[in-house]
């Protein structure tokens, strides 16, 4: 209902349906990060960081791996999410996820790109 009443909403939904949204997301996630000389994707950095964190936790308490895996991992996840991914941003190889997302989203290039795409879409539907 709400999307029908709002033209912009409808457009946004259409944008998603066309697949541009997922592509954007994928791009952001797989963007290369320049860290010193080596460059890894965001996804990989975060994976590595999380892996290290969990390992550290296990080293502290061995029993973690013998407990119920599902509930334990949920607990650890909540630890990581706490305070805006604070755990991830600390230490070397860390990445402030929140900041990163904000930074990426506020890039004018991205916004322009989105607008272009939407305009194209509108044009396409009108022509079609």
């Amino acid at each position: 209902m709400a999307s029908n009443s709002d033209e912009a909403r409808r457009l946004a939904d259409e944008f998603k349906k066309e697949g541009h949204f997922d592509k954007l997301k994928h791009d952001i996630l797989s963007q290369e990060l320049k860290q010193g000389e080596s460059s890894t994707s965001v996804e990989q950095t975060i994976r590595a960081k999380v892996n290290a964190l969990v390992r550290a936790m296990v080293a502290e308490d061995e029993n973690l791996i013998f407990k119920n895996r599902g509930s334990t991992s949920a607990l650890i996840e909540s630890q990581i999410f706490k305070d805006g991914y604070k755990a991830l941003s600390q230490g070397d190889g860390g990445l402030n996820v929140e900041e990163y997302i904000q930074e990426k989203l506020n890039e004018p290039a991205l916004q322009d790109h989105v607008r272009e795409k939407i305009e194209e879409m509108v044009q396409g539907t009108k022509n079609g």
Partner: protein
């Protein structure tokens, strides 16, 4: 008809009778019965007027009416001819013309028939004996017209009285009086119905109606057509049934047509059915489901008439209603216009509470004030029920009131208009109907927006956002996209990146070194546990060489033996364990000092001290006063020992030593001189050195010796007994032997007693001790069951914790506690493998299994006992049978059982009652004393004597732990034992047998359950 039948005239004497009877009876065609009647009449009435009158009467002769002429006619004829008497003439004239008979004529006036007449010459037409006859009226007293003799009462007596006849008066039939009293036909106001004539091929006219019309007498409630049909089915087979609707509005008219079925040429059956259907109900009508109906035969277009009548009536009613409705609507519109104005004013007062705003989400709301609702005890459910006809979306209970939320204002407004102030609900507090006022709170923001900006009618749909330019639109769209993107990114980070990574890294296979470490550790602990278990076993074997309880169980006796050891001289291992425990309780000395006096730990050395210490003391201090000053110095006079009865335990000397060493380093040497026993201690109250062992009763030699602990005691006892000096030696040469004998005897006895206690926990009963010294020497005698508890191990009381069940798991559980605890502490989170399959899961899997089996059975298509599953067996609890304290064998729980859980089914042969009776007698004859027959109902008994499950071993108890219930499984009654309360492992299971009370005392079975509430008998 001829003269052969003629009766000879009776020879009457002269007189009135004669003359009355005089006329010849020529026509003898009257029946003899009539003659008799006439004669009897004549005799009794004796010439009453009945005779002379000609009257018609009925003679019941084959039910036919027969007219007869009185003899008067004949005499008439006679008189006519001869006497010309006025009487007869009179009669002739009086007679109505219709009844006048034709003048008599002589038919047989021939010579031949002349002889047939006695007194009449038919040819001459003369009376033969005319001259010989004389008038009866010779006597002048007699009235000329004859007389009658009537009964008259003269002074209370009935007398015959002669009365003159009055021929001019018409006689009355005396019987007519009687006739009037007889039964009369009832008054009819209607013609009697002609019996129904069945219709056949000869019948003329239309066939009889076979249809019945059913129409409502008054207003009809909800009646299903089928119930009408079923009702009329009882009169005959229905071939056609039709319910009629109003052609105007298709509503049911509740007019039905029932046509009864008739086979070929048998219209009568149907007609008969229809006739009966109408006849039975008549004018009362029939009542079906509370509604009254008229039932009529369908002839002459009854149906059409009925329908048209009803339709007309309905149309009229509809018209009336429509008019009323229109009028009401007009009124309502007027009212609502007024109300709206008022509402608008009221709306502003009432506002949606802030916290509800989100839930209500700008939708119109009807509100009932909370104060009102609370006052009358109305709840949300009540309103839900009351407003069920309206399209509310939800009804919210809120401290501010009850809010009924509507999706659109239209329905809210109609609801309010229809119900507000009109709807009544029964108040819970006042128990009387209360009018309810609904207050409409419209979707506020919408209204203000719309009215101000657009001036449009109220709309519930959120306002359509508009954008001035395309650029704006795109801007907004991008903004939405970016917002969504941010959210999606966060979700992705969490759900797709971090979550799985954490999960994956937590995999134990990622940490092989840790797993390996753990495994080795586990192995170690397991080895340690087994080792400890083995050790414990060995120890058990060595210490409990004589352990009767290993016959039945092992855990309880172990505890008991340990207890005994502690009581005894104190063996090495018990001391060792105590030290172990003590070491665990190590605390700072300061604390120990504080707590020492309160410590309840008994001194292990004290009991064993007595013999040795004595000698020591004797050696160390020869004189009594030698150390008395020190004791006085410590304010611990030995005299006080008996007087100060403080129940405190002495501290352990070992600890004392260390404490003293620490505290009085300077005085250490001085103190060391004093024997350990008597060294000073720190305490609030002076303590006795020895425990207070005052005992009552007679003391044996040894015990007496034991109570005398030191010289002081000796002195005292000497003083008490009045013995000044040791008696002269060798006064009795056998003294030493006697003392030894006494001592050894006592020792033996205590040994026996201890053994008995160890065995049975109950002292040996005095009755069982044989007088002759040996039970074997005494011959056969019966020992009561009660006494058997003294020496039969399985006869001990049930309410004491005991374990008569030999349990294999026990030995594993019996491993020393320490390693087990350690094991548990280490990893409490890891679930035990046994717990993984709960009883519920078990049952679920059983059900699945059973479904499989059932499916297979269906596939095979044969009934096989092999495939039938015993559902009850799956829920069975682990139980076993063992010797029982109550009776012979008993059933014991192997695991703790919770209350209300099913334990076991009582399985056995299912037999009938007579068979059970027969078997019972047979079993008694055979000597099977125990009864294993369980009654299910009046004619079913389950016999577990020869074939049956172990549930039969369950004993009776007056305070039972279980109960037997009869439940139906697959249509068969079965006996199932359920736990009444929580049952511990190794506890005997019992239930109440509920035998009927036996009146014969000899027949009663004593109950040995030993429960505190035992009734003493089973039956």
């Amino acid at each position: 008809m001829s003269g052969s039948q003629r009766r000879p005239l009776p020879a009457f004497p002269k007189g009135p009778q004669r003359s009355l009877n005089g006329p010849p009876r020529r026509d003898q065609q009257y029946q003899p019965s009539y003659h008799r009647l006439y004669e009897s009449d004549f005799r009794c009435q004796n010439g009453s007027s009945s005779y002379s009158s000609h009257y018609r009467d009925r003679v019941s002769d084959g039910g036919s009416y027969r007219r007869y002429q009185s003899y008067r006619d004949e005499s008439n004829y006679e008189n006519h001819r001869d006497n010309d008497s006025p009487v007869s003439l009179n009669y002739g004239e009086m007679r109505p013309a219709l009844h006048r008979r034709p003048a008599p004529a002589i038919r047989y006036d021939s010579e031949f028939s002349k002889s047939k007449y006695h007194y009449f010459d038919p040819i001459a037409k003369k009376l033969i004996h005319r001259n010989e006859m004389s008038s009866w009226k010779k006597d002048s007293r007699l009235p000329p017209n004859g007389f009658v003799i009537t009964q008259e009462s003269h002074g209370g007596q009935m007398r015959p009285v002669m009365k003159e006849r009055h021929p001019e008066q018409q006689g009355t039939d005396p019987r007519s009086k009687d006739m009037r009293t007889g039964p009369f036909r009832k008054h009819r106001n209607k013609l009697t119905l002609v019996p129904r004539i069945s219709y056949d091929k000869y019948s003329v006219g239309p066939p009889p109606p076979i249809e019945v019309v059913i129409c409502p007498m008054s207003d009809v409630g909800p009646v299903q057509d089928i119930s009408i049909k079923n009702y009329f089915r009882k009169y005959g087979e229905i071939s056609h049934f039709k319910a009629f609707n109003d052609p105007n509005n298709a509503l049911p008219l509740h007019v039905y047509l029932v046509r009864y079925n008739s086979s070929e040429n048998k219209i009568n059956d149907a007609a008969n059915a229809a006739y009966r259907a109408t006849k039975e109900h008549g004018e009362r009508g029939c009542i079906i489901l509370g509604s009254r109906f008229n039932v009529a035969l369908n002839k002459d277009k009854t149906l059409d008439k009925v329908i048209s009548e009803l339709v007309e009536k309905n149309a009229e009613k509809a018209n009336r209603l429509a008019k009323e409705l229109r009028r009401k609507n007009e009124e309502q519109i007027k009212m609502s216009k007024k109300e709206e104005k008022r509402d608008r004013a009221g709306i502003s007062q009432k506002k949606i509470p802030y916290d509800l705003a989100k839930q209500i989400n700008n939708r119109p709301v009807l509100c009932i004030s909370k104060f009102f609702a609370n006052n009358h005890g109305f709840r949300v459910e009540d309103f839900k029920a009351m407003l069920r006809r309206y399209a509310w979306t939800r009804i919210i209970d809120h401290p501010a009131g009850i809010f009924a939320v509507f999706n659109d204002e239209e329905s809210a407004r109609t609801c309010m208009n229809n119900e507000s102030g009109r709807m009544t609900m029964i108040s819970r507090t006042k128990r009387s109907p209360v009018e309810i006022k609904l207050l409409l709170i419209p979707a506020t923001t919408e209204i203000t927006d719309d009215t101000q900006v657009n001036g449009k009618v109220v709309s519930t749909v959120p306002k359509r956002k508009t954008y001035k330019t395309k650029a704006d639109l795109f801007e907004a769209a991008t903004r939405y996209v970016i917002e969504d993107l941010e959210k999606a990114l966060h979700v992705d980070f969490r759900k797709r990146l971090i979550g799985p990574t954490v999960f994956d890294t937590l995999n134990p296979s990622v940490f092989p070194e840790l797993v390996a470490k753990r495994e080795t550790k586990e192995q170690e602990t397991r080895q340690a546990a087994t080792k400890a278990a083995e050790e414990a076993k060995k120890k058990l074997k060595s210490t409990n060489d004589f352990d009767v309880f290993n016959l039945y169980g092992s855990s309880a006796p172990r505890k008991r033996s340990g207890f005994l050891k502690r009581r005894g001289s104190g063996s090495l291992d018990s001391l060792a364990t105590r030290h172990l425990k003590r070491s665990k309780l190590v605390k700072p000395t300061a604390h120990l000092l504080n707590e020492d006096t309160t410590s309840k730990e008994p001194t292990p050395t004290i009991p064993s001290l007595s013999p040795t210490s004595k000698t020591e003391e004797e050696g160390n201090s020869s004189a009594y006063g030698g150390y008395s000053d020190i004791e006085i110095d410590q304010d611990e006079s030995p005299f006080k020992r008996d007087m100060v009865k403080v129940e405190t335990d002495a501290t352990t000397p070992e600890l004392d030593v260390t404490e003293k060493m620490a505290l009085f380093a300077g005085k250490a040497e001085e103190l060391m001189k004093i024997p350990a026993m008597y060294r000073p201690r720190v305490s609030d109250i002076p303590e006795p050195i020895y425990e207070d062992d005052t005992t009552s009763g007679s003391l044996g030699l040894k015990k007496l010796l034991r109570t005398i602990k030191d010289d002081e005691d000796l002195e005292l006892i000497k003083h008490v007994l009045g013995v000044q000096s040791p008696p002269a030696e060798k006064s009795d040469p056998l003294l030493q032997y006697r003392v030894w004998k006494l001592c050894s005897g006592e020792e033996n006895q205590t040994l026996v007693q201890e053994a008995q206690l160890k065995l049975n926990e109950v002292p040996f009963h005095e009755e069982l001790i044989s007088n002759s010294g040996s039970v074997k020497a005494e011959g056969y005698r019966k020992i009561s069951d009660r006494l058997k508890t003294c020496y039969l191990p399985h006869r001990r009381k049930i309410h004491q914790p005991l374990n008569t069940v030999s349990n294999h798991n026990d030995s594993l559980d019996g491993t020393p506690d320490l390693p087990k605890e350690d094991f548990e502490n280490k990893d409490p989170s890891e679930p035990a493998p046994q717990e993984l399959s709960s009883s519920r899961d078990n049952r679920a899997s059983n059900r699945r299994f059973q479904q499989d089996i059932e499916a297979q059975r269906a596939a095979i298509g044969t009934e096989s006992e092999l495939l039938s599953l015993n559902q009850l067996n799956k829920r069975k609890k682990p139980v076993t049978f063992a010797r029982s304290a109550i009776h012979n064998w008993g059933l014991y729980a192997l695991e703790p059982i919770a209350a209300k859980e099913m334990i076991i089914e009582y399985v056995g042969e299912r037999i009938r009652q007579p068979v059970a009776e027969m078997r019972e007698i047979r079993y008694i004859k055979k000597g099977i004393g125990s009864s294993y027959l369980f009654r299910v109902d009046e004619n079913t008994v389950i016999d577990a004597t020869k074939k049956g499950g172990i549930a039969r071993f369950i004993n009776h108890c007056c305070d039972p732990s279980c109960t037997a219930k009869i439940i139906k499984v697959g249509g068969k009654k079965r006996i199932v034992i359920y736990a009444l309360r929580d049952i511990a492992a190794n506890e005997e299971l019992t239930y109440d047998y509920k035998f009927e009370r036996e009146t014969d005392d000899e027949e009663r079975l004593p109950c040995l359950c030993g429960a505190p509430t035992c009734k003493g008998f089973l039956n």
